[in-house]
Symmetry: C2
Subunit: 597 residues, 2 copies
């Protein structure tokens, strides 16, 4: 059977993360997957043991890290949300695919080897006259199982460990994270348009998550092949790999071969929401000739992808014909791919962008599947020199207009943001966005705070990402160290995800998120007590931490040593400080020692 | 000859950086080394050529990157400042080393193989009653050649390219960087105590540089062996290697064997100021027994190192006996090595720290050699949980007191800062420091903005470093990815330096430094015009940028390609945008395109 040939190529990384156990926290209607890191006991100088509470962390990795689950990429993941969707009674199963292109691909027998059991020819769609978005339900006062799932997930069991993390006072710039997230709070944030819960009815495999500034800051990892490299198998593994390390969503930005089938595979195997930029595929359909793009081709692409289960679309509808001359003064023109394509189209046809002029129709399609719209910033600055310029902010104003239209159609909406911005100009971006877009969640790419470090742009952008995350951005799109230079490989993807995870976590800490604080507290306690294995397990990247430690002190015994090779035994301050602590605790404070100063 | 044996081991990385030329910019009395990056021509779509101005960048690499210079580590670097020092007529050459330990080491014939031509037995010291610090001169209204050197160096020839970088408006939080730095401005900043020019009269090899918030943000790289690893040869190479990539100072934190000789080698071969923590060597002298430390041993160590040419000492004099109980509430106690040692000493002896009680005497010694003092924050927080606590700020107040004492002795002073601080607490550190320490330059270690990413602490700390640099910190001490795990190797040192260089540069940009803006502008122009080799040359790390690019597109022809493997030819937005630009420029703006919105 030809089908098996390709299937055999897909190897998905599975298995629990070091020192971690998959747990399922029960709610009324849901069982929420989390990762519990069990810690070893603290041992006093006099040998007495004290237990340390386990730390429960947010887990994006899906069933793959559950040892009881055996992945089969040909079948795809279990359909966690299928019953919830059906129970609402507002969807119907279609007799056939609605997209002409989708039907054509299915009929093409040359593609048979790319298809497996999971191919769905009968997708779901809203019944006539119905809207099936989480935003619609929220506005009706309905708390869906998805919302309940999200509430439990965001809490990370931190209600069980309340005392330890009351210490940290955050600064939220208008964000207010409650001590305990309730399902009703989730509903109200979605209803207000301050958060989205991306959940296409045709992607029942995804675990519900939320994007909004009163929740944990999320990160996205871009994957996808380019015309120059990669296969379906590689991209499916890259998607799962990215979620293993913490990606909250993945965007499939494939521009190479078999985009339709690559996406099908990714969606069926992704435990997190999947985003795309439908324009890329539309352009492929006209063989890369921008001038041949039409609304009909684009529209069919939206439906094709909505019926595959894509959870959010980036749509560069805010770049209007009239904005284009504003970019002529720029140092680096238009650096968004979608933006550059649409600017070309408008200029060639001397016509308003069809994404802008058909935006209402787009929203009508999206509301039938609960695809969220991520309104793309086609005019985001591509260099420090172009940051916060007239073109960028003119487009942002249009993004705000479009957000209102989406909102009227009960389409969940987020707004994309820059790009390249020096630190002193970051705050203006956030404040304008909140103001112009009625608090719709902001989703930024970095921003990079300098242009002069190609090869290190995961870092130049993580600086901007941490800052803008703190200021109120809800999701950070990662940048890898290959940015501006080439396509990232598997290791680059992992490093990019970890880098953004730490930036998002730093933002959560700064905003005062109790669960974020709890993990840092536990890590530092383990560090001070030389519980090396606990440190590795609590690290965002256990494997790398362990590897670096072992480069100089590989022996098993050194996992219990009260020093590392950085300072050695006699110069270890932690060791000296602990001994001092024990010494002072053992006697009354020395005479003359007061806090008088 | 036995001496040659060890010398042969020292291989120093030499040669110009890619695409760069060493230039010497003439002043009245000085010739200032800089690096000029020549750029290729821009070629229009119609084949017309336009030249691009070269970019001149700050150069910390010393003579090693001058192809006309042949390094000989056995002789050390040329004595750039020797004549300037002599001309001031306020120093005398000593008949012998003043330090008993220094004389003992010299007399030890077993160490002969570690000595070479450069060993100085007749160091300089101020004549009786004289103070020879740059601060002293500045207060007398004297503009030294060192100050003139610094003024020219800080400008980076940006007066020659004025128009292009007027665009960027910075925000300085009270810092004010003039468009053109004059020698008189340098003098006035030093006189006000807002900047220091570390320049030990026994380190005439160093190229003058300045640390202060109205100048470029500087970075320090820590090197030095530990009892567990490394040799003299490795450490000398590491020091030169760090300056090659941009370290403005290096601190030799050796705690292993032959500390005295290791330092001698580093100082004689370092083109940048060298800092140390004399307490480490003092502790070595008493075989690691903290209780045996005495003021006499410490004092002799200060003199020993001052006569070798160390430019600044970290002295943890602010950790007082009475502060120690404040640390008992902490999660991670005392994490500064110097701080932990002194806290132990105070507790054992039930006595005030000898660093605090002898601080005036310390200043008298320092002023005779122009050693600057970096007052160490022995109580800096070692975790997010301990940030900005009572212990830390009580000590900071004492640091302010000590800064005033140093100032009264004409000793140049900087203040060390944290450590581990979540983002929302960074600003308080900076503001308190400026307030309590009378605007003395702040010198921070990161700070790390989260504890949960061991293996990535160059990044967790670069986020905090960029922010605090923007807020007013004058020098950032780098953190490598091995922090908390082990001793960094050569590659870790380079990565740490580049990471901090980009953080410091991001801070310069945010503060509105014109030369910083110029480099970003030139990089982005090269990027937009697909001048790949220019991009690599303008990058902080040309070699890595080139390597990453070539991983997927190695052919020479691709160095001229109008795309890279990230998006491929048809999806390259820069390519599309440039074509669009040419299209629109070739005709009148399309009808109906207005800026009306």
């Amino acid at each position: 059977m030809k089908a098996k040939e390709n299937a055999a190529d897909v190897t998905i990384t599975q298995g629990a993360l070091p020192g971690s156990e998959k747990i399922y926290v029960k709610g009324d209607r849901v069982a929420v997957a989390m990762r519990r890191i069990d810690l070893s006991d603290t041992i006093d100088e006099d040998g007495k043991r004290h237990s340390n509470e386990p730390v429960v962390v947010y887990d994006t990795s899906g069933p793959y890290t559950d040892p009881n689950y055996q992945a089969d990429p040909r079948k795809g993941l279990p359909k966690l949300r299928a019953q919830w969707i059906e129970d609402r009674g507002d969807v119907e199963r279609l007799k056939d695919l609605s997209s002409a292109y989708g039907r054509m691909r299915r009929a093409d027998t040359r593609l048979d080897h790319l298809r497996f059991e999971h191919i769905e020819s009968h997708p779901l769609r809203a019944k006539a006259g119905k809207r099936v978005s989480q935003l619609h339900y929220a506005r009706q006062g309905i708390i869906t199982p998805e919302m309940e799932y999200v509430a439990i997930r965001e809490n990370q069991c931190c209600d069980q460990i309340r005392e330890a993390y009351k210490k940290e006072k955050g600064e939220g710039f208008g964000a207010h994270i409650p001590d305990l997230i309730t399902p009703e709070f989730v509903r109200s944030e979605i209803a207000a348009g301050r958060a989205i819960l991306p959940a296409n009815i045709n992607h029942p495999e995804s675990e519900p998550m939320i994007i909004g500034r009163n929740f944990l800051v999320k990160i996205n990892a871009n994957i996808g092949n380019s015309p120059l490299s990669s296969t379906i198998a590689e991209e499916v593994e890259k998607a799962v790999w990215a979620t293993r390390w913490g990606a909250d969503t993945v965007m499939d930005l494939s521009t190479g071969k078999n985009i339709h089938e690559t996406r099908e595979w990714i969606v069926r195997n992704s435990p997190v929401p999947v985003g795309t930029v439908p324009l890329y595929q539309a352009l492929e359909k006209v063989k890369g000739k921008t001038e041949d793009l039409t609304w009909d081709i684009y529209r069919d692409t939206l439906i094709e992808q909505a019926e595959q289960g894509v959870d959010y679309f980036t749509i560069h509808a805010g770049l209007r014909w009239q904005h284009i001359p504003l970019t002529m003064k720029r140092l680096t023109g238009i650096v968004s791919r979608g933006g550059a394509i649409m600017a070309h189209w408008c200029t060639i046809h001397k016509q308003e962008s069809f994404l802008y002029s058909h935006f209402e129709e787009i929203c009508e399609i999206l509301s039938q599947y609960d695809v969220a719209v991520s309104i793309g910033d086609g005019l985001r600055p591509g260099s420090i020199a172009d940051a916060n310029d007239e073109a960028q902010f003119a487009e942002l104003k249009t993004l705000g207009e479009l957000a209102r239209i989406a909102d009227q159609h009960d389409v969940q909406v987020i707004i994309e943001g820059p790009g390249h911005v020096p630190m002193q100009k970051i705050r203006e971006n956030m404040e304008l966005q909140l103001d112009l877009c009625n608090e719709a969640p902001f989703y930024t790419l970095g921003p990079l705070v300098t242009d002069i470090a190609p090869g290190y742009d995961h870092i130049t952008s993580a600086i901007g990402a941490a800052m803008i995350g703190w200021l109120g951005t809800s999701m950070l799109c990662y940048v890898t160290r290959k940015e501006h230079l080439g396509l990232p490989n598997r290791e680059d993807v992992k490093e990019g995800v970890i880098t953004y995870k730490l930036a998002a976590h730093a933002a959560d800490l700064a905003k005062g998120h109790p669960a974020a604080y709890w993990r840092d507290w536990s890590m530092s306690k383990a560090r001070y007590e030389f519980r090396w294995m606990d440190q590795f397990h609590l690290a965002l990247d256990s494997e790398t931490a362990l590897k670096f430690h072992d480069e100089t002190l590989p022996a098993e015994g050194h996992k219990k040593a009260h020093f590392c090779s950085m300072c050695g035994e006699h110069f270890c301050s932690m060791r000296a400080s602990r001994q001092l602590h024990d010494k002072i605790e053992g006697e009354a404070p020395a005479v003359g020692v007061t806090n008088e100063e």
